[in-house]
Amino acid sequence: MNATENPLALPNIDRRQFFKLGGGLAVAIILQDVIAFAADPSGTILSPVPSGQVAAWIHIGEDNMVTVFTGKVEVGQNIRTSLTQQVAEELNVDVSSIKMVMGDTDLVPFDNGTYGSLTTPQMGTQLRHTAATARQALLDLAAKHFSSEVTSLKAAGGMVSDQKSGKKISFGALTKGQQILIPISKQIPLINPAEWKTAGKTTPKVNDRTFITGGHKYVSDMKMPDMLYAKILRPPVYQAKLLTVDLDAAKAMSGVTVIQDGTFIAVAAASLRNANSALLAIKATWESPDQPSKAQLFEYLVKNARETEPETSEIKQSLTASEQQHSDTYTIDYIAHVPLETRSALAQWIGDKLTVWTGTQRPFGVQQDLAAKFDIPKENVRVMVPDTGSGYGGKHSGEAALEAAHIAKETKRPVKLAWTRKEEFTWAYFRPAGVIKVKSGFKKDGAINAWKFENYNSGNAGLKPQYRIPNQQNNFHPSLTPLKQGSYRGLAATANAFARESHISDIARMIDMDQLEFRLKNLDDARLKAVLEAAAKSFGWHTKQKRKGCGYGIACDYVKGGYVATCAEVMVTEDNLVKIVRITEAFDCGAIVNPHHLEHQILGAIVQGLGGALFESVDFENGKILNPNLSDYRVPRFKDTPEITIVMVNRTDIAPSGAGEAPIVSVAPAIRNAILQATGTALRSLPLLPTGKLERS
C-alpha cells in the first residue's frame, strides 16, 4: 500500500519531508536562462512552492516516479485516472510511473474545490501545461548533459535519448530528485488530442485492486491508536431549541466522555457501541416553532420569493401578440444526494495543530472553516481527502470535520465521527425544491417569438434557453427554504431543463409538429443540433416501429461545455404502470480523455437522473424528515435500469470539458415527453411518478 492509498502511513509530515521520504534529499533545480543547479542545504526555501512553478504540481523523483499534486479530489469521477493519463501523455511516460497526491492541503496547491465539472477543463489543462514544461526542462537538462542540441533529443518512457549519439538518460538521473523550480509556460505546445496515445484511451481505474479487495481505506474505515468514536445529540426536528438535558446516566458510564459546549452535546468512547449506548442514555427535551410542510411547499416558495424583475412590457406585448400561446407551472421536489459513504471525519490535534481526514469536495474550504472555528492560522490545519464514497455536489461542506475536530479538542484524543444514514438524510443538505412558471408565444409554423421563464428558489444555472427566441425574459427569484439546500450534480440546470424541455414538447404537440423537428427548427448551435441528431439516429427516432402504449420523448441542453440530447421510450399499460424501456443519450464535451470513464460518468448521470425523474423526493412535515432512510427514500436499483445506449461524440478539435453534470439534465424531460406522447398526459412535477403509477389527465 503506498502513501496515497493510506494517508495514515504518513502522519503529519510536511511537504519537504515528503520529498525526503519520496526520494533523495530535496534540493532545487533552477532553470532560468541558463541551466543551473542550486543546492539548498537547509531546505527552507522549498516550501511553499509558488503555484506558478512546475514543482508545485509535479515532482520527478530520482527513482523516476512522477508525483502529481492536485487539490482536486476523487469522489468516483475517476479523475485520479484521467489526470494521470493527461500527465503521462505530456511527459510521455507510463501511467504506472505516476502517483497522484490529491486533496491534501499541506502538499497540494490551493484549489477551490471539485465541482462544476471543472476538473477536466481546468485541472487537466493546468497539469498538461505543467507536464509539458517539465518535459521541456528535462530536454534542456539532457541537452546540457549530452552537450547536444535539444532538437536531436526525444523524451519517451521516462528517458531522454539523443537520436544522434544513441545515448540515453533517465528522467530521475536528470532531476536527481530535485524540485523543478521553473515557471510553467503556456507557450510550450501541448500534445494535440488527435495524437494522444495514453490520454484518450481506456485505462482502468489506477488503484482498482485496493477497491475490489476491500483494502482501500475510506475515511469511515480509518483508525488510529487511542482513537475515540463520537456520537452527537441531534434535535428531533429542524430549528429545535434544547430546553433541558440530563447527562448523568451517560457520564456515569465507564469509558465514556460527555462533551457539552452550549447546545453542542456529544459523547465519545473507545468503541462505537459504547458511544451509541451513551447517546441513548441522554435525556433531552426540545422546543420547536411551526414550520412549513411538504404539502404547502410550492405555495410557500412562491409566496416568500424576492421578485427580481417585474414582467417587462415588451414581453407582455409580444406574448399577447403571438399567434398561439402556452403557459404552465412546473414543480420540483427536494431530493437527497445519498452518497453511499456518509459524511465522515477523523480529527487529531497535536498541540495547536489540527489534522483532519474527511470526505469533502472542498478540502481548502474545510481547512478555512476549521481555522475559523478554532481561531488558529490556516497553516495549522491540514485537511486530507482520501478517495471518497462519492459526493454528487453533496459534500461541499465539512460538517463532520468540524464536529470531529471539536470533540477531539475536548477529549484530547483522535476522534472519528461517521454520520448515520439518518443523519445524512437530515443534517446534510438537499437539491433545492422549486416552482417554475413558463409562458410562451409562437407561430403555427413552429417559430417561437416570446418566452417568459421564472424560477422560484431552485436556482439560476441553465436558466436561459438555447433556442432562438427574439423576445425573452428569464428570471430567478430566490426564496426562503424550509429545508437546508445546496449544490447538486447539475445544480438548477436539471430543474430548468425539465421545465423548459417539457414546455417545448408541449408546444410542438400543440402545433402538431414532431418534437425533434421542432427543436432542430428553433436551434442555431451546430453542436447541440449534432447531439440531437446523433441521439435520434441511434435511437431510431424516425425508423423504429412503435408498439401499443409506447411513447417516445426527446430533450436536449447545453451545460458547462457539454452538449447533451436524450431520447426515451416508455411503455404505459392500461392500468397505468409506466416502464422506461430504453434511454439513448448523445453527449459531446470536446476531446475525450478516457472513453471508458466518460461513459461511466454519462451512465451514472443517466441512472441518477432516473431517480430524480421518477420517484426521489424528500418528504417532510413541520421540520421533520419523514423518509430519512433507504427503505423509505427510494433510489434507482438494478431493476429500475432500462436499456441504455450512450453515443459519445469525440471532438478532438475542441478542448475537453467536464462531464459530471450535463448528462443528467435531459433525462427527466425526455421521459416526461415520452409519457406525453404515449398518453397525452402532460406531467408537470418532478418526480413524475412518486406512487409508481401514472395519474392520467
Partner: protein
C-alpha cells in the same frame, strides 16, 4: 464468543446482540465490509455466512457462532482473486467503488447458486445492492464476465 471469519477463529467479548457488521468493522478492523444504511436496504455490508449472502448490519453476532463467515478480505484463495474480483478488475465497472465489496459478495453468492445467470437473474439477485453512482449495467457486464471465467474452469 468464538466467531470464524475468513477461516480464522476470533474470540470476541461482546454481547451476542451486537451486529456482525460492527464486530467486523470496529472490533476486527475488517473494514472492507461497508456501512450504507444499517437496515438491510443497501447491500453495502454483504458478507457470506456458510456461503450465502447476508446483510451483516441486520445479522447478530450471536447468530453466526459455529458458522463460517467470509468477508471481502477473505474472498481470495491462496492469493488468487475470486473470479468475480478478477472480472471487476478486468472490466473496471466502478466509480467511487464504495459499493464494491457488497456487490462482489452478492455476485459471488449468486454465481455459486447459478453459475450462468441471465440478465434478469442478475437484476433480481442484485436488486438489494445499491450503487448510487449508477454503475448497474457495468456491474451486470462484470458479473457475466465472471460467469464466463467460472464456467471456463
Amino acid at each position: 464468543m468464538i466467531l470464524t471469519i475468513n477461516n480464522i477463529r476470533h474470540e470476541v467479548n461482546i454481547d451476542a446482540e451486537a451486529t456482525l457488521l460492527s464486530i467486523l468493522r470496529d472490533e476486527l478492523d475488517l473494514t472492507g465490509t461497508k456501512y450504507g444504511c444499517g437496515e438491510g436496504a443497501c447491500g453495502a455490508c454483504t458478507v457470506h455466512v456458510n456461503g450465502l449472502a447476508v446483510r451483516s448490519c441486520t445479522t447478530s453476532a450471536g447468530s453466526v457462532v459455529g458458522k463460517s463467515v467470509t468477508t471481502i478480505e477473505g474472498l481470495e484463495t491462496n492469493g488468487i482473486l475470486h473470479p468475480v474480483q478478477q472480472a471487476f478488475l478486468k472490466s473496471d465497472p466502478l466509480q467511487c467503488a464504495y459499493c464494491a465489496s457488497g456487490m462482489i459478495m452478492s455476485a459471488a453468492a449468486l454465481l455459486r447458486e447459478k453459475p450462468a445467470p441471465s440478465t434478469a437473474d442478475i437484476n433480481t439477485a442484485m436488486n438489494g445492492n445499491i450503487c448510487r453512482c449508477g454503475t448497474y449495467p457495468n456491474i451486470v457486464k462484470a458479473i457475466k464476465l465472471a460467469s464466463t471465467i467460472l464456467t471456463a474452469k
